[in-house]
Amino acid sequence: MAIVTKQPTPPRPAPLSESSVIGWVRINLFNSWMNTGLTLASLYIVYVAVSGLGVWGFSDAVWVAKDRRECFAISVDGACWAGVVSWIDNIFYGRYPRAELWRVNLGGVLLIVWMAPLWLPRVKAKIFIGLSAVFIYPFLAGYLFTGGDKGIFMQTMVTVAMVCVAGNTLHAMIGVISGRSLPEFLIGFLRMKEASEKNQRNMLLGILSLTVIAAYILQMNWSLETVSWTKWGGMFLTLVISGIGIASALPGGIILALGRRSKLTLIRVLSISVIEMFRSLPLITVLFMATTMFPLFMPEGFVLNKLVQVIIAVCLFYACYMAETVRGGLQAIAPGQQEAAHTIGFGYWKTMGLVVMPQALRVMIPNIVGTFIQLLKDTTLVSIIGLYDILGMLRAISQDTPWRGLYREPLLFGAIVFFIVCFIMSKYSRHLEVKLSTGHKTGNE
């Protein structure tokens, strides 16, 4: 018998369980006596744990005291946050001279100012801003943090960095307001829109060289007191190591991953051996090797400071982990994408840079950020080889005479700090994933 539907079926509202919170709760948590009992019991356990922690950490806690004895005198059962409070500068800056702390803060602010345009709408040429933040900013920050005499190289880099940060900021402001780039704005400002392209370019180059000269003169008289790296510590040191690690692990990983997939045997074998060697060693071993064995291989009189050795070790180690992550992403991209790029005349680098890598990195965002988070947490291992990073500082509190034996509160504080930083990173990665997703994938078998 033939069936013909004359009228299209009108849509009906979804059942309660799909559309409202109350419906969901009722169906999933209170749908039987057994489940109701379990739900209530779990709620009670959570209440006991949280309220106990609350009483210890907040209502009975001591925030101001001159030593641990006084903490006990005020409240026996409460947390002694006073120790953490009195060490807060040490926890964040280590033994950095207190009069020079502004340099660390300025470094942090500069990084934020430098990177902020990347997240602002309507700003053009973001790739240059990102690249300059990775390759130029470290020199400026390095000088800010260490100070001392600038060699000719440092003078140049500081000059370039100053021009970059000024240009970036101006460019970003113009971008947000008018949606134009800095050169476009300058040309418009000087009423040179009608001029030939060559004249425009000469004008811009002229302005650029004047700025460079001005910056050079400015930085010549700018000199900072030397602060030895041995005084660096706390959160500041953790962020320096992990920041450099994060900034170099991804590019390093990309290079190693491409090397591993290369058709040239020598490059492939080299990449594979580096990757597999570092991945089969624990980080702590690599750190010990970097600080104790690495100097043995160097020519006599060649002394690298311990911090640089540690940073190199962390960078190499995580570049190798990142290489495997990136390789996974590359394998997820259908070979058809490469073929299509070849057919419009792209060679190897354009194919990789414009077609394959952007997609591979996008697929791998959760893993890449996961590796970053792991890196950040693993830098605490440097406290074992004698650098006072945030963990080193937190443990040092318990050896300080007034606070002898105070372990719990500092470590809990450290846990909270790490949780906040890592949670923000993973939330941001989730946000990126959603933002960069371009509909479901089709056409790639």
Partner: protein, 273 residues
Amino acid sequence: MNNDRGNPGEKNMTSTKTSETPAHLASAASSEVIIELNKVNKWYGDFHVLKDIDLTVHKGERIVICGPSGSGKSTLIRCINHLEEHQQGDIVVDGITLDKNLKNICHIRTEVGMVFQSFNLFAHLSVMENLTLGPIWVRKMPKIQARDIAMKYLERVKIPEQADKYPGQLSGGQQQRVAIARSLCMNPKIMLFDEPTSALDPEMIKEVLDVMVELADTGMTMIVVTHEMGFAKTVADRVIFMDEGDIVEENEPNAFFNDPQHDRTKLFLSQIL
């Protein structure tokens, strides 16, 4: 089958053109040779895929290649833009011999467009960016000009309104038309089609074939691997039947379909028609 929203005028034009005879279309081909294959051999490992293939294609000629799967027809056209490397014989495209010289290969690829069975649109780029990527980075074209050209071709494949969408948001037929437009944006001299309609739902095949028929009318040199025999009958100047790495039979479409010579051709045609 309704292949397009709106634009009835253009659709009419298409349908009248499809009904034109192959004899009329054949006059588009000139005597200038644009592709020449001479005793081309290729192996995948021990498997001999292409056996002594000789083929000459003239400018403006439209060739349809058909044959059972595994017969080497896709491999053949993939050798023409060097997506696959051949081991013996010569391939000369637009006067340039394909060898290990990467510069030559890149140059040839800019002159030879290719459309794949699985579209292979760049999934991370919008339709417009897919179309302008090649012209901007390879032809060094200014962005605005590249966009104008891309829009022109999007209109030609009748989906200008999809310019800002991502490939994942389009239907298969629309994606394939974007892929054709992407190749055309490079202004190629030759277009290769590797089973362009095999991955499509039946109701989307016609919209892609219509675009290809229109392209044929502009005098483009085309080599099409397809099982769409209707397309072969209306558009092709020559039909090539391949089996087990050999060109078994080669003839103009009328004779090919009505009077096949070889037993294997007869068997193949009896199975698909």
